[in-house]
């Protein structure tokens, strides 16, 4: 007679499951990236649809907590617990640890162990190198929960250097015009600055005021952004030939009227698809994404080797289909509060 182990009999959906407030871990009585304020939250990273204010207790990496304090007025009412990559802590009956996710500064996969079973909640991640955070670490597990933002075979993000090259070529071709580069304030902004620096661009990079505080925070965490300054501090500056970073929404805003015949460049994984790029009014679409593309997603399923995969936010259908095709027991996991945002 075969010996049945706990791992085989325990149904993971009995101890980790979606609720209207977010993904809930019952034996630890905590939520992961909840959409609403809860008594105890585990936060994978600082983006707005994962990190929200008002939790009584929040567990996250020190960097993510710093980002949250910057965004949420110091969060005096939240009891904050910092956990570094590789460390773990016990909450209720569950062992909780963090592994790097390679998404943005401080981004982590939550590694949950309960009765010999391990579930990895990857949050958002990517696999290509990012000068602003440590790379994604595959953690072997029984259940892997993956994002699916760009989970279609049409998404092949080209190399970062090639895309930054496009921007620099355009700056050289139109030296009399301002290049307005639309970037998400957290992560994308700082990564694009670093990529420009690595490509040898050492001039001052101008920033929309809304990007300043997070850039300062990155600098405090040792990410060298070089000479950056807010547009509001410019004196006698024509911005001809300048690179100005701003939130994508600011490109079409009255704010942008001060620049010289601006060229709208938008950095996002969505720029891969023409109709999307045109919808955003991008004249220079740059495919730079903080999310895994299709080859990275499919490679990750193989690297992690989990027999079960739950797919969240994005194009679940395609990834579920692919995973089942390679013998993985995959299903979509519908989570509340996940929207398509700048990626």
């Amino acid at each position: 007679m075969a010996i049945t182990t706990a791992t085989e009999t325990l149904n993971p959906r009995t101890w980790l499951y979606p609720t209207p407030r977010g993904l809930y871990c019952e034996p630890g009585d905590f939520y992961i990236d909840p959409a609403f304020a809860v008594p105890r939250a585990v936060i994978t990273h600082g983006h707005g649809d994962h990190a929200r204010p008002g939790h009584r207790k929040a567990l996250a990496t020190p960097e993510t907590l710093a980002i949250m304090r910057t965004r949420f007025q110091d969060m005096p009412d939240t009891e904050q617990q910092a956990l570094r990559y590789g460390e773990s802590v016990r909450i209720g009956e569950v062992e909780v640890g963090f592994a790097p996710a390679g998404h943005i500064l401080g981004s982590a996969q939550a590694v949950l162990a309960y009765r010999g079973q391990r579930i990895v909640v990857s949050g958002d991640y990517k696999r290509r190198p990012d000068p602003t955070c440590p790379p994604f670490e595959p953690v072997p597990c029984d259940v892997f929960i993956t994002e699916a933002t760009f989970a279609l075979p049409v998404f092949h993000h080209p190399s970062d250097t090639g895309e930054i090259g496009k921007l620099l070529r355009s700056v050289a071709t139109f030296p009399e015009r301002t290049h307005l580069v639309g970037v998400y304030a957290l992560g994308k902004c700082q990564r694009v600055i670093r990529l420009l620096r690595e490509a040898g661009y050492d001039k001052r990079i101008w920033l929309h005021g809304g990007l300043m505080s997070l850039c300062r925070l990155y600098q405090e965490h040792g990410v060298d952004l070089g000479d950056v300054a807010p547009v509001s501090e410019a004196i006698l500056e024509t911005f001809k030939g300048a690179i100005v970073l701003c939130p994508p929404s600011a490109i079409a805003d009255r704010w942008s009227r001060r620049f010289a015949e601006p060229i709208a460049a938008v950095c996002s994984g969505w720029m891969n698809v023409r109709a999307r790029a045109r919808q955003r009014g991008a004249e220079l679409p740059l495919v730079i994404s903080d999310h895994a593309d299709w080859p990275e997603l499919t490679q990750t399923l193989k690297d992690v080797g989990a027999p079960r995969v739950w797919v969240t936010h994005g194009r679940e259908e395609a990834l579920v289909h692919y995973a089942r095709g390679i013998g993985i027991d995959a299903e979509a996991l519908h989570l509340a509060g996940r929207e398509e945002e700048d990626s």
Binding site: L152, P153, V154, F155, H156, P158, N272, V273, R274, A275, R276, A277, R278, Q279, A282, E283, L284, P285, R315, E317, A318, H321, Y322, G325
Partner: protein, 525 residues
């Protein structure tokens, strides 16, 4: 090919006309023959490869990633060529990418069975932009916001010539247009203009309504029926005979019956119709004859084409465009009286004393085959383009019906993230009481703002999803305008609308009060 791909890529993201011109001019100056000539042919719609059908591309995609993933990808991207370009991966071992000239010349020689292998090799060698451009070229739908006219403007600009000078020699030239570039850039003599059978840019009318008419003096205007066919130009000279669409596209190939019947020299403006005995057949019948490479004898017999003449531009070797409409009309009438030509007849003038009388005639005229009235000033010269003042079109009022939205589908291209294609229905008695039967589908008529509203409404009122299609609550009444209605065996409701569009969103009207299928059937007579 990569340079051409970069050009198309930049054009597709560049909204400004002048910047587009600059991009094309730069490309034409910097690219050697024959590539630039082939590029010009591509931009003016002069390249046609029947070797790459959508089915072939779909087959490639399905072979690469499987049917299901390909379907999901295509549904998301909304464009077949782009989908395939994105899912394909460049093979570093595939060798250098082809030039545009190589692509065109190879495909012109290749047999149907050779094409797929050649195409795969190119897809392997090109990058994703190159693949996109190649596939756009092969499927004949560049859609980079460049009209043939704009491309001709660019080529005229590089030689400091007016665009009409290029237009005049255009129909005597063939891709890759070496004599054209030699003339414009290298001081060679101007190519012969081949005058007679060349397309002469058409004169177009502005829309007008009853209220606006009162500002005009009826004595200055002539009225004629606006026939519901296709506006064409018949051009014949020096043994050449051509039939052009009003945009200058040569459609002679699809209408050999018209071409054979040309036994004169001159250029005429008219309406292409299908005519049986003396009656004009519905537009549907004409549609059967359009966009065909070859025409079967059966087609010719059952759907005989006919041109109803409005105007004469040239007669024999005389240019009449500078004359007033009345003088041209007199010339046209005496010419047509000279000889019986079964394939050609004259569109009659509609007499009227004042606008009220004309309005009454317009109301009475419910016959199929008439779209409304044309009003032309008696002294109007024939001028290319759409000048304000001399010509007006006074279309028949559309029919209206209140229908209920049933399904919505995401659009393609620019609208690929919007639910913009709406299926709507009318009430009828079903087995289980009153039910909605779909009567049509509309994807325009609304403003961008209304589209955003409709898109949100669909997302908020979805009851079922079937792939790209959402079934919605049967709650929203849409006022649909349409130009005609016909019985149809292909539609469940038994009726088909012509040219349906959304004229108003009737949030004020309860769905139960929308029209019934029976109401629509009453419009049939």
């Amino acid at each position: 090919m990569q340079a051409f791909a970069r050009l198309l890529d930049s054009l597709s993201f560049q909204p400004a006309r002048n910047a587009k011109l600059r991009l094309i001019e730069t490309y034409l100056r910097e690219t050697p023959d024959p590539d630039r000539g082939w590029a010009l042919a591509a931009l003016t719609g002069g390249l046609d490869f029947s070797s790459a059908k959508p089915a072939l591309l779909r087959g490639f995609g399905q072979e690469k990633i499987g049917e299901e993933l390909f379907a999901l990808s295509y549904d998301y991207v909304g464009d077949l060529a782009e989908t395939l370009a994105l899912i394909w991966e460049t093979d570093p071992a595939a060798g250098p990418p082809p030039t545009l000239g190589e692509v065109v010349e190879t495909l012109q020689r290749a047999t149907r069975t050779q094409t797929p292998a050649i195409l795969k090799r190119w897809l392997d060698a090109l990058d994703s932009t190159g693949r996109w451009a190649l596939l756009k070229l092969l499927t004949g739908a560049l859609r980079v916001g460049v009209s043939a006219r704009l491309a001709k403007q660019a080529v005229a600009n590089i030689g400091d010539q007016p665009v009409d000078a290029v237009e005049e020699v255009w129909h005597g030239l063939e891709a890759p247009y070496r004599p054209l570039f030699d003339w414009l850039l290298n001081g060679a003599p101007r190519p012969s203009s081949n005058a007679g059978a060349a397309f002469l840019p058409a004169m177009l009318a502005n829309p007008i309504d009853r209220a606006e008419l009162d500002a005009l003096d009826p004595a200055h205007f002539r009225a004629e029926w606006k026939w519901d066919g296709i506006r064409v130009q018949v051009a014949a000279s020096g043994g050449l005979k051509r039939l052009y669409s009003r945009a200058g596209e040569d459609v002679s190939g699809a209408f050999p019956d018209i071409i054979e019947a040309i036994d004169f020299e001159g250029v005429f403006d008219g309406e292409l119709l299908v005519r049986r005995e003396s009656a004009v057949a519905p537009f549907n019948d004409l549609q059967q004859r359009l966009n065909r490479k070859t025409v079967t004898p059966k087609m010719l017999k059952e759907h005989p084409a006919h041109v109803r003449l409005y105007d004469v531009l040239w007669l024999e070797s005389e240019d009449l465009r500078g004359l007033g409409f009345d003088e041209r009309r007199a010339r046209l009438e005496s010419w047509i009286a000279q000889k019986e030509r079964p394939r050609f007849d004259l569109s009659p003038l509609v007499s009227f004393a004042d606008w009220a009388e004309l309005a009454a005639k317009r109301e009475e005229m419910r016959a199929d085959g008439i779209e409304g009235l044309m009003l032309k000033r008696g002294d109007s010269a024939y001028v290319a383009g759409r000048p304000k003042g001399p010509w007006f079109k006074w279309k028949r009022d559309p029919m209206l019906a209140d229908c209920v939205m049933m399904y919505a589908q995401r659009g393609h291209g620019k609208r690929s993230s919007f639910y913009s294609d709406f299926t709507f229905g009318c009430w009828r008695d079903g087995a289980e009481g009153r039910e909605l039967a779909p009567v049509g589908k509309a994807y325009f008529g609304f403003t961008d703002e209304e589209l955003r509203w409709l898109d949100k409404w669909v997302r908020d009122h979805t009851v079922n999803r079937y792939g790209p299609v959402r079934e919605v609550e049967q709650k929203l009444v849409l006022e649909i305008a349409f130009d005609g209605i016909a019985r149809s065996t292909r539609h469940k409701s038994g009726v088909a609308m012509r040219f349906p569009r959304i004229s108003r969103i009737r949030t004020d009207k309860p769905a139960a009060e929308a029209d019934s299928v029976d109401n629509l059937l009453r419009l049939l007579s």
